[in-house]
């Protein structure tokens, strides 16, 4: 499985990285954002959504409490942080979402691996001191210039 490593030095850089990654996420992608509290999962999600649907980053807020944000038809930002059991997650109807979604970003999804699609893209974020973040991306398609153009980048 191909893994790529990135490092960002600020929130702005993390958002910019998310925008670049967005161009490489095809329709139907499910992305698991993993990492500790404060690692920058929501920040990277802002960048990805900004890149994918051109939504300004400040419009994207944390879905921890609401569990699911749908930002455009079929574009979801989900957070399972406050759920503890598989039964609770099952009531969310994630299968339905995976079936018809164009893009799904999930924070804390790795806590329920059996409920996540096998072909998910995994992005692991880690604090590297102060505002620096080490970011590893697994199972993402290689950058293709024409594809980047197609998604409007």
């Amino acid at each position: 499985m191909n893994a790529e490593r990135f490092e960002t030095a600020s929130e702005e850089e993390t958002i910019a990285l998310g925008e670049r990654l967005a161009a490489r996420l095809p329709e139907g992608s499910v992305v698991l954002l993993t990492g500790n509290l404060g690692a920058g999962k929501t920040t990277l999600a802002k960048g990805i959504l900004q890149g994918w649907i051109h939504l300004p980053a400040e419009e994207i807020s944390s879905p921890t409490f609401t569990l699911i944000h749908e930002y455009a038809e079929g574009v979801y930002h989900i957070d399972l942080y406050r759920l503890d059991t598989r039964a609770e997650v099952e009531t969310l109807g994630l299968d339905d979402i995976f079936d018809h979604a164009r893009l799904v970003l999930i924070e804390w999804g790795e806590r329920f691996p059996e409920l996540m699609p096998a072909n998910s893209v995994r992005i692991e974020l880690e604090s590297a001191g102060q505002d620096r973040r080490a970011i590893q991306v697994t199972a993402l398609r290689p950058a293709a210039p024409d594809q980047a153009r197609e998604t409007g980048k």
Binding site: L37, T42, E58, S61, T64, F65, E88, G93
Partner: protein
Amino acid sequence: MVVSPTTGPMKILGIESSCDETAAAVVEDGSRILSSVVASQFDAHGKYGGVVPELASREHLRAIVPVVREALEKAGCGYADLSAVAVTYGPGLVGSLLVGMTYGKAIALSYDLPLIGVNHIEGHIHAVISQNPVELPSLALIVSGGHTHLFEIREGLHYRLLGKTRDDAAGEAYDKVAKLLGFGYPGGPVLDRLAAYGDPGKVKFTLANMKGNRLDFSFSGLKTAVLRWTEARDITAEVEARKALFRENPRPTTQQWLERTPQATRDLIASFQSTVIRELLRRAQSSAEQTGARSVIISGGVACNSGLRRDAPAKLGRIPVYFPEPSLSTDNAAMIAAAAFPKLARGEFAGLDLKAEANLALAGA
């Protein structure tokens, strides 16, 4: 359908199921709360077949019928006495919203009652407006686990969004900090109780200035700053002690928490609380001044916070500030029925095709 205002008191049945709570209430003439039932309050009694885990559509489905029935019983009225049915149609989880909406629609259809769609956030505003002599224009700060919004409310109940959180909601920051310190989840109210035992000036948090809209909020950086504080010290033992206490007893007393919380951590909590409150009130005050507000409304779950209630009047100076009573701070259906009353008067009814809107906005910027 003709609704005549001369037919005596008008009772509205409100139904709310946008997030964790299943709630129903009957409110007369927009302010007199005849009943207000929230499903989670029955957990301890096991009245509805044991613990209601408060989550998602299946649980709403289990609770909706008994909750509505109980609201009507407590209000001493039947469907025939109602003037309208009001339902929350967003923002929230679509699956959860649909349960309350579908039930409300069925009642409206069966008893030939008008259906009124209410925005959940507007409900929080009416939790205060309906119970207090609020003068317009007003400034509303809605703070909860899911929302942190500033609105201007003009005459005729016209809303304008002035600012909102760009990342974590204020209540969410409380709950996440509580969890990382070992106070369980959601532990925001515990931090509020313990903040009184620490020095709020001890830990200095520097918050980045907002680029763009200066009335927007950001609490993610504060959460991370607390995390860094814990990483710079070895507090594993005390965190473990608190987690152990929470496992044995899901509702520890303040004294039990204090016994497991050294002074440095109490100071951290007090400093965190004072920073959140300062950020909330600074923006509330400057936007109230900017818009010439004659009153300030603070509503939503975090409106229960004792520090916020204590500091708000002084910070807002001459502008009167109104909070909801605690039972109307957290999610409830009385606020939904109250918010529906002006719509009933204006004949603003929804069709049976009313859709659940996950991202329903109250007003644009």
